[in-house]
C-alpha cells in the first residue's frame, strides 16, 4: 500500500512538473504584441477606469468625472 501511495504521489509530482514552463526571452513575441496591451483601446480603457473608480467610491481619478455611482 505504501509503495502504491508513493508511486501515485511520484506520478502526481511528475505530472505537475510537466505542467511547469517558463517563457524564454526569445519566445515573448506574442506577449509583446500590441493586442496583449490592456490599454490598446482608448475607449475601453476609459470605461474600465470609470468602472474601477465607481467601485472604489473614489472621486475623480483616471480622468473620468462623476461621483462614483457608475451612472455617467
Amino acid at each position: 500500500m505504501k509503495t502504491l501511495t508513493f508511486l501515485l504521489a511520484a506520478a502526481a509530482v511528475l505530472i505537475a512538473g510537466a505542467g511547469c514552463a517558463s517563457v524564454k526571452p526569445w519566445q515573448r513575441g506574442n506577449l509583446a504584441d500590441y493586442t496583449m496591451r490592456s490599454d490598446r483601446d482608448p475607449v475601453g480603457t476609459e470605461q474600465s477606469e470609470h468602472i474601477w473608480f465607481s467601485r472604489e467610491e473614489a472621486n475623480g481619478g483616471a480622468g473620468v468625472g462623476g461621483g462614483g455611482c457608475g451612472c455617467n
Binding site: T5, S22, P25, W26
Partner: protein
Amino acid sequence: MNTSLFKKIMPAALLIGSLLSANAALKVGDILPDLSTFQLEGKLPGSLKGKVVIVDFWASWCLPCAESFPTMDALQKKYGDRLVVLAVNVDENSSNMEKFLKEHSVSFTVVRDGKQKLVAVVSPETMPTSFILDASGKVCFLHNGFHGDKTRQEYVKEIDSLLK
C-alpha cells in the same frame, strides 16, 4: 501526507525542478557552435574564422533591437572587412522580420532562426543579446540588451581591443 513520504518525494521534486530550470547558456570563454548545423534561413558569411564577429540575437517585436540596428550598421561600415556583424532573427513568422527590415535597412548580414534551435542552445537572457567573438571564434564579450551610446562605446572599445 506523512513525513517519510514527504521526505521521499521532496528530493525527486527538487531534482525535477533543477532539471527543468537547467540552463546551458553560451557565455564568455565559450566557442560559438557551428552555425551551419542549425538550418538558419539566409546566407551565412563565408567564414568567420580570422575575423572579429558580433553575433546579435534580435526580434522584430523588441524595441531595443530596433534602437541597436543603426549602431551595428555604423560599426559594420566603420570596420569594413575586419568585422562581421551577424544578426540572428528569432521571429517565428518571417513576415514580421521582413517588415522590420524594410523599415530598418542595414548593410550587415541577417539570418533567421525560425525554428529557434540556435537561440535555444545559446539561451540569451534578454532581447537583444550580442556576443563579440575574437578571430578564433571564442566569445570574448557579451552584451545583454542595448543601452544606447553606452553600449556603442563599449562595442568600439571591445572591437578595437580584439583587432589589435
